[in-house]
């Protein structure tokens, strides 16, 4: 059977509001923790955006190094970062306005 790659759902499929974590489970002892937890800001980014942020930190925040590693031009990588910054600002705005 083909393994399905799951992605973390970030917004409600019904009303598009940001989702919260309401339960966490320990797979070793089956302990369940219930509550209402906010997802960290970075966890709300799309998977490829989050991977870009991880790569950016790993390259000591050097866009030039990242551009070399990815085989892309400097402005292409910088534009990607600018777009992620814009996404983060949008997420922050949504968090503030959501009930």
């Amino acid at each position: 059977m083909k393994a399905i790659k799951k992605s973390l759902p970030l917004s409600c499929p019904s009303c598009a509001s940001p989702l919260k974590v309401t339960s966490l489970a320990c797979e070793a002892c089956d302990t369940m923790v219930s509550g209402s937890f906010e997802l960290p800001l970075l966890a709300r980014l799309a998977a490829d955006d989050l991977q870009f942020v991880i790569d950016f930190v790993k390259s000591s925040g050097s866009l030039k190094v990242m551009a070399q590693q990815l085989g892309l031009s400097y402005p292409t990588v910088r534009n990607r970062l600018d777009d992620i910054i814009h996404n983060i600002e949008t997420i922050e705005k949504n968090i503030k306005t959501s009930p």
């Binding site: 085989g71 892309l72 031009s73 400097y74 402005p75 292409t76 910088r78 534009n79 600018d82 777009d83």
Partner: protein, 187 residues
């Protein structure tokens, strides 16, 4: 393949693009000298029967590129919402002029028109064959502007068209004042 043809600046920009672009512009001006092609405007290319000194062809190419850089940079300073580097804009716009080499080469087989009776269907077809090179250059120039300044969508297209029109006017003014000096003072 399509990315390399129409969006090469995804992979190359900055100093490397500027140096490569300048070398191609230099080679294009040499070809233009022999095929009597004039790049007398930011996005202009014409054939001529006049034989002028080589440096006229080189200066025309530099003015055409320089006016695009100045106008696009000014527009980006005013409208771009993120920071950008001048060298990216200068480099990518220099490299974006590469298809003009094709236009200059094509002019070896397109005879210049001195009067309307010289126009034949064959010549018209050859002249139209140069159109894809101009369209390709325009696409590349827009991509250069878009990638270098991170501007996208309709707003970017309108700003780019506006910048290009101002660049065309600027290059015409510069050539108008420099041309008499260029042809009178021979090195």
């Amino acid at each position: 393949m399509n990315t390399w043809l129409f969006r090469p600046f995804t992979y190359i920009a900055g100093g490397k693009a500027l140096l490569t672009g300048w070398l191609i512009m230099l080679f294009t001006s040499v070809v233009a000298y022999f095929s009597k092609t004039h790049f007398d405007g930011a996005i202009d290319a014409h054939s001529s029967f006049l034989t002028l000194p080589y440096f006229v062809y080189l200066l025309e190419t530099l003015i055409a590129w320089g006016s695009v850089v100045i106008c696009c940079y000014t527009a980006a300073v005013i409208f771009a919402r993120t920071s950008f580097r001048f060298i990216d804009l200068a480099g990518t716009t220099a490299l974006a002029r590469t298809p003009m080499l094709g236009f200059a080469l094509l002019n070896f087989i397109v005879p210049p028109v001195t009067n309307i009776s010289d126009v034949t269907p064959m010549m018209l077809a050859l002249s139209l064959a140069g159109l894809p090179f101009l369209i390709w250059t325009l696409i590349l120039l827009y991509q250069a502007f878009s990638v270098s300044t991170n501007m996208k969508g309709n707003k970017a297209i309108l700003i780019f068209i506006g910048s290009l029109l101002v660049a065309e006017a600027l290059s015409k003014v510069l050539l108008h004042y420099l041309f008499p000096i260029m042809v009178n003072i021979r090195p």
